[in-house]
Amino acid sequence: MRHIISILLENESGALSRVAGLFSARAYNIESLTVAPTDDPSLSRMTLVTTGSDEIVEQVCKQLNKLIDVVKLVDLTRDLHVERELILVKVRAENEQRDEIMRLAEIFNGHIIDLTDRTYTLEVTGDSAKIDAVLKALENIPILEVVRSGQLGMGRGAMGIV
């Protein structure tokens, strides 16, 4: 099963490689990983998507907690949570396809954030299913480049990491 693990860790050099190294050393899966400082610049928040049986994910969480740089973590998928991912897609946009791509962007509540006379760059946010749907909808458009941010997540209401 897919789990989203949200981690607060010391914003120190090497902290990221400790987490990444743990996953490769113990043969755990990483589907995506994002990390950036929080409102407290001494802390980073990492969102990590992994897959595995309940036993494995429990071990993943315990092993992560053992890392000295990890301050706190929560498996968001155990409770109600929101998740968002951002995608940028650069497509070839010429002639009548320019209108079609505009319409698609509107349907997905996205934006065109860069254009040339031959390309558009789309920005869409949503949960993973929506982002997958965007790519599916663009199947007939020549895609030049894709970049996804990876999942971000947060517990709902009182639930969360603090």
Partner: protein, 564 residues
């Protein structure tokens, strides 16, 4: 007071009560060595290879419970230390390893003797630090010692660029340290402890299974009280030997791949398994599917990630072993409920039937020296009181099986990583910690050659070790597996150019004795231990084809042992 970074390092070590540092100098640590030169409080022990430094510090730590300290230079100094760091990590040994680093402005420049020590050691340390500012040295050392010695102990590496060891700053050693991201659990959960006591008292076929955590957690006293109070059988892992006395009738000896028949059968048929400071290692459990099929399991461990990692347990208790066992002992004293006397009596009857197989029997009338015989005679010659270190292989198993350890920290070996070359330097560390104790290293002709250069260190510091070399001309354990599983194709497990160990020992300034007949074993040992201020290298020519029995083959259950 304003001090240089190098002087601050010495002050930090003094503040932590460090008496020995094991190391080897080099360019990046010359400022630190200069600071060592100017003081007498912390003694530096010069080894002959950095691997020796790490194992010696490790042996010191295992013998004393205090963290071992290592100082090596950058680049090859750090990489040579890696095996010893990994060895300590696998057995949860507290250790501080100071590695020199090239000056800050050269980091990442492929400078001479530069290596990413923090990167290389990351998966084999509890934590590591790269200090980038002279003002951070004191706090980092405080943190390093705190992390290395609390919770589940382990090695911590501190990488220090050369330039900051020359810079000056005001020194103040922090008296306490708080780390928001590191809060090891100390006390066990009261509710879980109560549930555990209920289960312990309801047992009909109980088994105590204890490991190195009891020794690391200084809980041997509590374990003895608990076991004797209950009258339950106890078996110990390779790492746990000595926590409970081997000479006590409640002890069934070691369990696992080369454990005793009674211990492994007892495990398999138990209905309540009380695991204390043990981690269900694959050499202990055998096949996980077949492991303890009838048992409800209590697991006491300081490391939450040990719980249900390999074997799902019913009552986990996370915390330090000693206070948890205290709490259990107190509860047992205050409750009216008693162990089920009839059931326990029947259980012992069954265990004694297994015991009657005498699974550690071997040919005691042999004309060639049996390795087991040497260990038994060593036990007698030392009255069972020596500190024993070992290398890795058959001799390690014979030592574990035939030298009955009665006290914790008496048995020092590399269990988790299985590092050949560990025994001699580890014995140096133990002997430095206890100069008046008998220290013997049980080894083999293959293992001893992996760190034999340390004989020179022993000479320099006058360490009167006794080397018990069980010389069978083979890498014995490799040969045994090749005999069993590769139709006796002894690929590369034979040595046909062995040194004359007696001459070798003598050339290092030690004494050497070659022993070839069983009747000469005891006199040679007595002669060696008479030489109280001299290292004696005893080269025992033993049966080349002796095997370690009993044995659980890979993939089998604990009840599927091969006896002799």
């Amino acid at each position: 007071m304003e001090l240089t970074g190098a002087e601050i390092i010495i002050e930090c070590l003094k503040a932590e009560g460090v008496d020995y540092v094991f190391g080897y100098p080099g360019g990046a640590v010359l400022h630190i060595y200069d600071a060592f030169y100017k003081q007498d409080d912390v003694q530096h022990i010069l080894v002959r290879h950095e691997q020796g430094a790490t194992h010696a510090a490790d042996g010191y730590a295992r013998a004393t419970g205090k963290p071992g300290v290592v100082l090596v230079t950058s680049g090859p100094g750090a990489t040579n230390a890696v095996t010893g760091i990994a060895t300590a990590y696998m057995d949860s040994i507290p250790m501080i390893v100071i590695t020199g680093q090239v000056p800050k402005h050269l980091i990442g420049n492929d400078a001479f003797q530069e290596v990413d020590a923090v990167g290389i050691t990351r998966p084999i340390v509890k934590h590591n630090f790269l200090i980038k500012d002279v003002r951070d040295i004191a706090t980092t050392f405080k943190k390093a010692f705190y992390v290395a010695t609390t919770g589940r102990p382990g090695p911590v590496v501190i990488d220090i660029p050369k330039d900051i060891t020359a810079e000056r700053v005001e020194f103040e050693y922090p008296s306490i340290i708080e780390m928001r991201s590191y809060n090891p659990t100390f006390k066990g959960h009261t509710g879980q402890i109560k549930r555990a006591v209920d289960l312990i008292l309801s047992a009909e076929r109980p088994m105590l299974y204890t490991g190195g955590g009891v020794i690391l957690g200084d809980a041997a006293e509590q374990l003895r009280t608990l076991t004797r109070k209950l009258g339950y059988p106890i078996t110990q892992t390779l790492m746990g030997l000595g926590a409970f006395p081997a000479s006590d009738p409640l002890s069934l000896g070691m369990l696992g791949m080369h454990g005793t028949y009674e211990a492994n059968m007892g495990m398999h048929h138990s209905d309540v398994l009380i695991a204390i400071g043990a981690r269900f290692d694959d050499r202990v459990t055998g096949s996980l599917e077949k492991f303890c099929p009838y048992a409800k399991i209590i697991h006491i461990d300081v490391d939450p990630s040990s719980i249900s990692k390999n074997v799902k347990v019913d009552i986990p208790i996370v915390g330090q072993v000693a206070p948890i066992l205290d709490a259990i002992n107190n509860l047992l004293d205050s409750t009216a409920k008693q162990p089920n006397k009839t059931a326990i009596k029947n259980w012992w009857q069954q265990i004694n039937e297994w015991r009657a197989k005498d699974c550690l029997n071997y040919d005691r009338n042999s004309d060639i020296i049996k390795p087991q015989f040497v260990v038994e005679e060593l036990f007698k010659a030392t009255n069972g009181e020596a500190i024993i270190t070992s290398d890795v292989g058959q001799h390690q198993m014979f030592a574990a099986q035939y030298y009955g350890f009665d006290r914790p920290r008496q048995w020092i070996n590399s269990g988790g990583l299985g590092t050949m070359g560990f025994g001699l330097p580890a014995a140096m560390g133990a002997q430095l910690a206890y100069p008046n104790e008998m220290v013997a290293c049980i080894t083999g002709e293959s293992s001893i050659q992996m760190c034999i250069q340390e004989l020179s260190t022993c000479r320099q510091y006058g360490l009167p070790l006794k080397i018990i070399n069980l010389n069978n001309g083979y890498m014995g354990m490799v040969r045994q597996w090749q005999e069993f599983f590769y139709e006796k194709r002894y690929a590369m497990s034979y040595f046909d150019a062995l040194p004359d160990f007696v001459v070798l020992a003598e050339s290092y300034g030690h004494a050497g004795i070659k022993v070839e007949k069983p009747e000469d074993v005891r006199p040679a040992l007595d002669e060696a231990f008479k030489q109280k201020d001299r290292l004696v290298f005893l080269d025992f020519i033993v049966d080349p084809e002796e095997n370690v029995y009993p044995m659980i083959p890979a993939g089998a259950g604990l009840n599927e042992m091969i006896l002799v």
